[in-house]
Structures are given as structure tokens and as C-alpha cells.
């Protein structure tokens, strides 16, 4: 059906569209509409109906049908069609939808066989019933509710993690935790020796900055010598531990989140669980232990390098001798100052490992979720570090240390 001989001369017009630029050189798709018999509209497809062409819209057919009272059926003739792809298919799907709304029957038998098969294929799969509508905008209350539920789940997860890691830590102390010693060695190397270059760079710069900022004020009183006090105490009590913790959070904490998140994606953590091996003992404890051991060492190292940075400014730019600077630093510092910094660093180590491991182990199973877990681990970790540092400041101040 749908051959040219069936076309009645009653009405016929051709819609032509200019080529929009992308095509294979064939004539752009056009459409002729006629009424060869009562109640039937015959749509004649001509030229190339491909997505590179500006194709006639389906609404033209509906508009024409509306202008012909009594039209109940739409048929097709493809004898003039030279080429087709999704451009024709989307036109037909669109037309089908409009015809359904207008109560018109669509007879696809006059279309190319491939088109008929694909349209049948598309119709074969129907939308699943009960599928949530993702396009629907969430109401304000629903949004608040889902966020609240998410927050409760998050904090429940945090409590679970604290509980499980405490149990695992006790087993570790009693020598019963199961993990590979070789992993611990590798982790110690990664979060210790490998971190030295970046810790050195940042610490020396922090020392330089402290000295520069301090000297501007101290020079007004001719007290440049106290740069040594300022830099020494600031590095030992605060900046050494704080800057090392922030570096390690961004570097090692994020790496832990990514490693464990990827293991979650690859079901490696599930594999450990099914073997009866606690991921807390096998994965979290070695990481936490490595950081607890390495962070104090890195902090002391950062303190010394920071003091060296201050000395570079004091000695190099403000006429202090090396001996003077050294003597002043030794006078200003005592073991308490270092002890405060080192003890903070051990707490920071726990926070870094906990934030990295917790967010990694609670990552969803996709590449973007792993990235999100790493970001969240770093943000939460840094906030915890700063808050904890504030708590330490209050405690030491209250105790007069």
C-alpha cells in the first residue's frame, strides 16, 4: 500500500526544509500529505530523513488532519525515501504520540521494514509500572525529611565505626588483630618517608611567614630578637602539628578514602567479610597505626624545619646572628611546648585515619561516589582537626600549660 498511484489529487502539498548543514549530500527530507481515500491521510516521505537535516515536524501532519474532518487513519508511502535514521524514527514516535492524543490510528505498514521493526521493538518494551518518577520535583518537606534521614544514617554510621574501630583497636593492643605486617610496613613508608618533601616545603614556608609577620610588629619596639620566640613557640605548640595534619589529611586521608572506596566498588571489602576477616582489623587498623606512629615524628620534623625557616628570615634579613637566634629559641622553648604539639598530632592521626577510612568504606559503588567520598573525607577531616585544635587550646589554657 501507499504507492504514488493511490494518491488522490484532492489535496497535496509538499513541505520542504532547507538542509541545516550536516548531511551526506542527499536531498533533505520532505513530506507530502494527501487524502487518497475517505478518512485516510497518506504521508509521503521523500529524500533523506536523517538527523543532519532540518526535518518537517510531526505537528504539520496533525494540523492537516485537523483541517480534514473525518480523518481517522494515517498511512505512509516511502517510495521516495532515500535515507533514514533516528531522525525519521523520532518523527514517527512523535507523530504516534500526537495521533494517540488526537484519537487517530497510525498504520506503519507503509514504512520501510527496518523502521517497522524498530518501532515495534520500541513498543515491545513498556515502561515498568510503579517506577518512581525522577523528573518530579521533590517538595520542600520531602527534601528536609530525606536530608534528616540521611544525616541520622550518617551519624549512626559514625557511631558504628567508632564502636567497631574501638573493638578492633583493643584486639590490636592485645595482639589479636588480623592484618598483614607487610601492609603496615608499606603504609608506614607511604605516610612517613614519602611525606617528608611536602612537609618540609610547607613547614619552612610557614616558619618564613610567621617570622615576616612577627618582625613587622616587633621591629617597632626594637625587639626583632623575639622572632625566635614567636616562631619557635608557634611551630612547636600549634603550626607544626596543625600544618602536618592538614597536609596528611589532603594527602594520606584522601588516599585512604579512595583506596577503600575503590575496594568497596570492586567488592573487595565484601570478600574480606565473607572470609571472616574484619575490614576494621585488616584495613583500618594498619592505616590508623601507621599514622599514629608517623604523625608525631613528622610533627617534630615540621617543628624543626619551621624554626629553620624563621631563622632564615631572622639571620638573613634582620641582622640576628645564628648563635643569638639559636640561644633565644632554646630559651623560649621547653619540653611542654613540644609535648603539646606531639600529643595533638597523635589525636590528629586518629582523626585523619578515621575520616579517610570511614568515608571510603561507606562510599557508594561508582567512580563519582569514590571521588565524593574522598572530598567529604578531606572536608570532614580538616574541620575535625581545627575543632580539636581549638579544644586543645582551651584545655591547655585552662590548665595553664
Amino acid at each position: 500500500m501507499g504507492k504514488v498511484c493511490l494518491w488522490g489529487p484532492v489535496c497535496y502539498y509538499v513541505l520542504k526544509r532547507m538542509n541545516s548543514g550536516q548531511n551526506n549530500g542527499s536531498a533533505p527530507g520532505t513530506m507530502g500529505i494527501g487524502s487518497p481515500e475517505q478518512g485516510t491521510l497518506l504521508v509521503s516521505l521523500r529524500g533523506s530523513w536523517t538527523i543532519g537535516h532540518d526535518l518537517p515536524p510531526a505537528r504539520e501532519v496533525i494540523a492537516y488532519a485537523a483541517s480534514r474532518p473525518g480523518t481517522v487513519r494515517i498511512a505512509f508511502d516511502h517510495s521516495g525515501l532515500t535515507d533514514w535514521d533516528s531522525g525519521l524514527l523520532t518523527f514517527l514516535v512523535n507523530l504516534q504520540g500526537r495521533c494517540d492524543d488526537a484519537g487517530l490510528e497510525v498504520d506503519i505498514e507503509g514504512l520501510p521494514r527496518g523502521v517497522v521493526r524498530l518501532l515495534s521493538l520500541a513498543r515491545e518494551f513498556r515502561e515498568l509500572e510503579g517506577l518512581p518518577d525522577r523528573k518530579a520535583r521533590e517538595t520542600f518537606l520531602a527534601s528536609v525529611g530525606s536530608r534528616a534521614i540521611g544525616s541520622v544514617r550518617y551519624f549512626t554510621g559514625v557511631l558504628e565505626f567508632i564502636g567497631e574501630s574501638s573493638v578492633a583497636f583493643l584486639r590490636l593492643v592485645r595482639g589479636r588483630a588480623r592484618f598483614r605486617r607487610v601492609d603496615l610496613g608499606l603504609l608506614l613508608y607511604e605516610c612517613g618517608a614519602q611525606a617528608l618533601p611536602i612537609v618540609s616545603l610547607i613547614s619552612v614556608l610557614v616558619g618564613l611567614i610567621l617570622a615576616f609577620v612577627g618582625v613587622v610588629q616587633l621591629r617597632m619596639f626594637g625587639a626583632q630578637i623575639y622572632i625566635a620566640n614567636l616562631v619557635g613557640i608557634a611551630m612547636a605548640r600549634e603550626m607544626g602539628a596543625m600544618m602536618t595534619a592538614i597536609i596528611m589529611m589532603g594527602r594520606t586521608g584522601a588516599a585512604y578514602a579512595t583506596q577503600l572506596g575503590t575496594m568497596e566498588v570492586n567488592e573487595e571489602i565484601d570478600a574480606l567479610k565473607t572470609l571472616g576477616i574484619s575490614p576494621m582489623e585488616f584495613l583500618v587498623m594498619p592505616r590508623m597505626l601507621a599514622l599514629i606512629l608517623m604523625m608525631p615524628l613528622l610533627t617534630v620534623y615540621a617543628d624543626l624545619v619551621g624554626i629553620l625557616g624563621g631563622a632564615l628570615v631572622g639571620v638573613g634579613m634582620f641582622d640576628l646572628s645564628t648563635a643569638q637566634y639559636w640561644e633565644q629559641t632554646v630559651k623560649a622553648l621547653n619540653l611542654n611546648q613540644f609535648a603539646i604539639g606531639v600529643s595533638k598530632s597523635a589525636v590528629f592521626a586518629v582523626l585523619i585515619a578515621a575520616s579517610g577510612c570511614f568515608h571510603g568504606m561507606h562510599s557508594e559503588r561508582s567512580a563519582s561516589a569514590v571521588g565524593y567520598a574522598a572530598t567529604r573525607a578531606v572536608v570532614v577531616g580538616i574541620v575535625l582537626i581545627v575543632v580539636t585544635d581549638g579544644i586543645f587550646a582551651i584545655i591547655t589554657s585552662t590548665l595553664g600549660i
Partner: protein, 276 residues
């Protein structure tokens, strides 16, 4: 529809991996609208060959021609033009996890066409309906089952109405029913759209169900061991290695009954008339 017999020609291609020779002097031709199977055991270089054919890895020597144009000698714009005509279904689907299914399918259309957002949305809906995922437009890949992810990846591979579709282990990770559904879909789309299909697989059911031409790679000889219609190879080949592969090592079974069981499973021997 395309009516010429355009094809892919792989000519004297040698593949190496970290200096290790994987395959040497590989030559074969894929004709338009073939469902061409590249088969072979694990580690024979199938996936590396695919990477060379789709421009992800340069061969140590040899050429890959698309309609007579040497891919690796072409300038970047010509290569892009070739790649625009190619759709790829990766073994692990490679759907972008941060995008919804609709966004995954829309991206190639946004990059390579001047279509408006409404037209793109219509095409996205069409592609998803063709693979049975109507209603899942706003879902993320991680929210779908393995079979659904595979079909979504197929919808993305078809986004630009490619002339050539590459499938890397399409049935990997699918249960037999979903694997069969995917085979059906490949045949239906290939027949309807006259797409040239290249399938890298060692899944015998798929090989016999959908392939009309094939090559079998041998990791020991490092070259093509046999070529032809896989069902014909099963029936007629006398090479013990070919038979071992195609019968899963059961070389003593009645090959005629095995061939009969496999042939006609999905594939229809008669050539389709693709003219509109």
C-alpha cells in the same frame, strides 16, 4: 540507508604489549552490514586488537582502513570523522557514573551535532525505548542491574546512528536470558539499521547465534587460526584447535547435531533486504 559495500580492512597489523609480541601480520576484511566475530581464548589479544581498531592503541606496524582511509595515517580531524561513525559497547559498559542515562546518551549528540535540546531529548528517549529502558532516563548507572547497564551502554553506543558498532565481550557478566536478549537486540538493530557489527567474544552461544563471519585468533601462532562463518567452521573445520575451541573441548560430539543446535538459533541465513 547506505548502499555501498564500505568496510573495515585490517592489513598486516602487528600488536605488541610492553615489547611482547601478541599478534603478528594480522589481515582481514569486514564488509558492510556484516556481523563479524573476533574470537579466541583469554589473552590472545582480542581486546588489544579492538583498541587498535577504535584508535585507542597504535599498532606496532600495519594499517586499519575505514572505507579505504587509513585510520592511523589520517590527521586528527579525519580520525574524529571516522570515530563519529563508530559506536562502542565496552566490556564494563563504561557509562559515566556521574551522569544520568539521559545525559550519558545525550553527550555524544551534544558534542557532534547541532541539534537542539528538544530534538536531543527525543532521540535519547527513542534510544532508551529501543533497548527497553523507557522511564529510566533520570536514573544513574549505579542504580541499574548489570543487564540494564549493558542495554544503556548499547543505547549510548547507538546515539549517533553509527555505521559500525563494536561490542567488547557483550555477554560478559550477563545471565543466559539477558545474554540472549542482548543477542536478539544486536541482530534486530543490525538488520534494521544495516549497521556493521564487530563483536569480540568467546561466548559460543553468541558466536553461533549472531555471527555471519568470524576470525579465530591463536595465542600460540600469534595470528589468525581460522576464518569464515562460525557455523561452517564448526561443521567443516579439520583443525583440532578450531574444533577444541568451538566445541568447548568436546571434539568427540556429533558436530552436525551441534551445528544444527546452534545454527538457526537466532541467525537467519537469508540475506536481508535493507533498502527502504
Amino acid at each position: 540507508m547506505k548502499t555501498d559495500r564500505a568496510h573495515i580492512t585490517v592489513s598486516d597489523v602487528t600488536l605488541t604489549y610492553d615489547g611482547y609480541l601478541v599478534l603478528k601480520d594480522l589481515s582481514f576484511t569486514i564488509e558492510r552490514s556484516d556481523v563479524f566475530i573476533i574470537m579466541g581464548g583469554n589473552g590472545c589479544g582480542k581486546s588489544t586488537l579492538l583498541k587498535i581498531m577504535i584508535g585507542l592503541k597504535e599498532p606496532a606496524s600495519g594499517k586499519v582502513f575505514y572505507d579505504g582511509v587509513s585510520f592511523w595515517d589520517a590527521d586528527p580531524s579525519e580520525r574524529n570523522a571516522i570515530l563519529k561513525r563508530v559506536g562502542i559497547l565496552y566490556q564494563r559498559n563504561a557509562l559515566w557514573s556521574s551522569m544520568t542515562l539521559a545525559e550519558n546518551i545525550a553527550l555524544p549528540l551534544e558534542e557532534y551535532t547541532d541539534l537542539g535540546s528538544r530534538q536531543i531529548r527525543e532521540i535519547v528517549n527513542l534510544k532508551l525505548s529501543l533497548v527497553g529502558l523507557t522511564g529510566f532516563e533520570e536514573y544513574y548507572p549505579s542504580e541499574l542491574s548489570g543487564g540494564m547497564q549493558k542495554r544503556a551502554a548499547l543505547a549510548r553506543a547507538m546515539a549517533l546512528d553509527p555505521e559500525i558498532l563494536f561490542f567488547d565481550e557483550p555477554s560478559a557478566g550477563l545471565d543466559p536470558i539477558n545474554a540472549r536478549l542482548l543477542d536478539d537486540l544486536i541482530i534486530e538493530l543490525s538488520d534494521s539499521l544495516k549497521t556493521t557489527v564487530v563483536v569480540i567474544t568467546h561466548d559460543l552461544a553468541s558466536i553461533f547465534a549472531i555471527g555471519n563471519r568470524s576470525i579465530l585468533l591463536d595465542p600460540e601462532l600469534k595470528t589468525i587460526l581460522a576464518s569464515g562463518n562460525p557455523r561452517e567452521l564448526l561443521r567443516k573445520s579439520r583443525d583440532p584447535k578450531v574444533l577444541t575451541f568451538l566445541t568447548r573441548g568436546q571434539t568427540d560430539v556429533d558436530r552436525s547435531s551441534l551445528a544444527k543446535r546452534f545454527s538457526g538459533y537466532l541467525y537467519k541465513e537469508e540475506k536481508k533486504d535493507f533498502s527502504p
